[in-house]
Subunit: 339 residues, 4 copies
């Protein structure tokens, strides 16, 4: 941590700051310029709040130097994390993995039809929500346990893996037998209790970026899960909230190469929530893979107009097929291939 003192800070002010830094475990090196004194603290105290220093008398500003995250940083595992699933599918190598399916599990017929179409298109995972996070208490809340059973059944029948959202600690145990990957939704990216529990679980997780979460916050939330011992973790950019209202969110494509640089965890893109408009999903999916995504998570429904949720952004099966064909041509350009 660096603390820059104000031009006119007194020796007393400076000594006080040095004492606080030493108390925290820093070795303090002092640089005095013609007017300004800078205090450089080296070492890695376990816990400190840089904001505390910003408001001490005589301090102009304070900067944290070390990353607040350790296990999530690329330095911890420079070769990158690869997650291997029971049927041999790997996320995090040169193959780009596609996960697709409806927003919600609505019925046996719907989810089976979806699974077949998703499989035919070439995706590896079936997505579908059994427990739905709905902004309004009056909206469809999901089929629950029955939905989980249907997901497992149709996935086994078609040879797909299952990814679905967990919203509550009490659901973890219930879900374990039925799924291959837990999805942590944007609204739960800072549900620290939930993250901590999933850190103790030994099943892969996909962590979605919060609607206004910084890159650093994404990695700190990842740190919660990793610190519990669960290293089978993927991150997912799904759009952030901005002033623009034409699209549902603003998909931050740059988060993909930025995260690939900062962390060893695989990074996926969700263009469906990212833009929220069906016809914009294909270009954004192509953009995500062009930018280096390790995978895509997309919504497809056999009949979007009848969808109980997110129909407006769900691809038609034909759209998914056509997009997959384009992705197979695009991936090699950036040194990848579609799984």
């Amino acid at each position: 941590m660096i603390v820059a003192m104000q031009d006119h800070a007194t020796e007393e002010n400076i000594q006080h700051v040095i004492e606080r830094m030493v108390e925290l475990g820093f070795n303090v090196h002092r640089t005095t310029g013609e007017i300004q004194t800078i205090l450089a603290g080296v070492g890695t105290p376990s816990h400190f709040d840089v904001n505390e220093f910003k408001v001490l008398t005589g301090v102009q500003d304070a900067y944290r130097i070390s990353s607040p995250y350790k296990l999530a940083g690329r330095g911890f595992r420079p070769e990158g994390t690869k997650i291997t699933f029971p049927n041999g599918v790997v996320v995090g190598n040169e193959e780009v993995v596609v996960m697709a399916g409806p927003c919600s599990v609505e019925s046996r017929a719907q989810i089976l039809d979806s699974a077949k179409k998703v499989k035919a298109a070439g995706a590896k995972f079936l997505r579908g929500g059994a427990f739905k996070p709905r902004s309004s208490p009056y909206s469809f809340q999901g089929m629950g346990l029955e939905g989980l059973k249907l997901l497992r059944e149709v996935a086994d029948e078609t040879g797909l893996l299952v990814i679905t959202e967990v919203m509550e600690i009490s659901q973890i145990e219930v879900m374990l037998p039925y799924i291959d990957c837990f999805q942590i939704g944007a609204r739960n990216m800072q549900n620290f209790n939930l993250l901590r529990e999933l850190g103790h679980v030994r099943k892969p997780c996909l962590l979605k970026r919060g609607i206004a979460a910084t890159i650093e916050e994404v990695l700190l939330s990842a740190e919660y899960i990793l610190s519990g011992g669960n290293y089978d973790l993927m991150l997912c950019e799904r759009g952030v909230r901005t002033f623009e209202t034409y699209t549902r969110n603003t998909m931050d494509i740059s988060a993909i190469p930025v995260l690939k640089k900062l962390t060893h965890l695989p990074v996926l893109g969700d263009p469906s929530h990212g833009v929220g408009i069906r016809d914009l999903v294909p270009p954004m999916a192509l953009a995500a893979v062009a930018a280096g995504a390790d995978g895509l998570l997309m919504e497809m429904h056999p009949d979007p107009e009848k969808a109980m949720s997110d129909g407006a952004q769900s691809l038609y099966p034909e759209q998914l097929e056509k997009l997959m064909a384009q992705l197979r041509k695009l991936a090699p350009v950036v040194g990848r291939k579609i799984a």
Copy 2:
């Protein structure tokens, strides 16, 4: 709901939209202009997604007319909600209620000292976190149950009410005997499972606005709690995330009069998280009350430099006293008084 068709929409397009609207339970009235057709759907279907209509062929745009929330809207209780606490304190009448205390309960000595100072300043509630939401898994996570007991003990000793954050469903039962009001943190504003549980509880709650939550989303989250039968609910503006980095958040003072207009629930302000810088807290507290807040939630620590969390934004006891004196003079100007 209104659906505006594009200029060149075909009769087939129009009929299809009308059918979907009728299926949902709308009575459809059609207005045809020289070029454009507008379909007005009246009635109140229980569930529909306006986004679904935006992407139908031939549709230019669709607009939801009715509020998505019913119980939270001011029309439901025009006289306003007043919450009465066991010792007679009321939130939601002409008295502005102040809640203050440290960010976290750190020790018996610290929380007792805080309580005395908070009481002396004239506040009615003691705040202090026993369960802390920390962005980093390495930060102090709170004293837990022991912290709750200390809160209750010192509050009883000084004649204050207790408000503290609940982060997990499993904590609700544990906390009930010790507290007077549950605080739902910004990161949990859309933890719908938690909200639903608190809706079944019969103890007051304070719901903080999410870091990037719209006014509508705040009211929909309130709706979750109200629909469970718990009407003792307060809302709290605590700053939203913007591009500005000088302050920790950007406190949206306008949310106070806006919410007072849209809902019957009391609306408080938290200038501590709102600005994140100690010396800016008093002006923002004054601004919040000038704008119509029903109360304030502020951080004060007997020795901010030693605080284990949020020291940089915690008021010194003298600052709190001085601010309370100013608030007592300001409140009458806007037809209120400090409780």
Copy 3:
């Protein structure tokens, strides 16, 4: 325009709104539901402010139906706008045009070296600022007229076109003999006087999206230029301001397909300002073309560490060459080719 009255609006309120709508030139159709009245105004009044209606007594909300822009909308020119330059280069057909060069013209040697490298890489335009918009009055403000002359000279020598920023009405006349395309910077997207003047000029312009401009505002600014008779206009997404601080801006890749849908004007991407970090520029450039961009505007400097401005985001010549090679492979995947 649609005006939705509140549930309890009086007949007097309703009549008053109808009168105002009629005064503005609307034909008003009234739909009365069980509780609520909706007034649909059809016709196209030349000027009205929908916000004025939102605050009339009894009004719940008001919505503008028609696009506020006419000339910029795709309906005006469904086949799309193609801009032909003196040497035959076309922007807006299936060829993706690349524009590259340093942020500023710094010296003859620097701009000549840049031009050669840009040409060798396969770009069609040389960019370089002669008049620089600098946030600080103490920063390098550009070489001015001398810079323009150098741009023209080296561009002619290497067979490139010239694009450079115009900041002030008085510069237009000065610049005309030296350039092929005016660039309107993000900070001037709503400099309406400047836009109006450029609308009278008969030379192509590239309009950059403002740092927090909505898609609609971009098209309204385009409308200023088009309404002056200058139809040789291109738009450019260059990143918007959000809460994220790791990147300089957040590049809104979705703006590319959204604008391609809403307008007939060519849409380019500027990944250099979009992300602000050199090594992130190539993935974002690939993402932009994958998403449908008609061109790219990028910063390249022969020696970025010596650059007088924006060195941190300028590509090395080798990076530009390598990126161009990737773009040549990527473009056909989305039905394009690199010019």
Copy 4:
């Protein structure tokens, strides 16, 4: 400037960075921790780009220590700037100055009526736009020179000062004889050419914060004007752009105390643009003064429903009178009084 090297940076990397820092004029002090090296550069080079250092090989991060602005900083004039107008009105002392009037000058009758009502309410300045910045080229663009003459005439008749917006360099000369203060609109906050010209003028200016301008950018724009020699400058918070759509902008009340701390220039608030909704203007005006504003700039129209622009946010004359009465009671609470 501080440069923090990465853990594994080589000696060669470090030396290279030191060389660049020395080239720029810094004295470099090196602190080597167990793993990490930190380079502290002291001195004040006239021009450098901290971003350039962030991308050098081996660099983890770089931080600018000194303020990029000098003349605008409070240290330059700790006693604060006071601007004295021809009739003795002062902005920047303990009196809070109110400026009010319609958005646009529409006719002699309208602006005269406005002036009388503004005077009666107790304001000191008449505002009104003669040159209007309109997002759409089809909206009313203002009365121009005739509007200026009317402003001067009615202001003289009622004993008010005139503040009105300048949009273009060519307008400065034209406006000088008629006005008392130039208003620089939000969209022109970074129109550096315009700012530079106004810096050469010897007439007071009010600079509005850009719609997504950081506090630092506001002060750098102020620096442009001050560096030209014009020290009669006021700043104005008028709302920033966020994700919230209920209000037209989000008024950042904290900008008032933050700017009062960082600069010596007077700081005003514009709640009319800040919220954009008539009935929310009074609470926000009270909040602004409670937070320490040196003045208010508000829109009032004799008949808002007939206003040609911004009618939805313009106060009725009675509302202005009532608000002024409240402000007279509130100001003393924060040690001020209404001029």
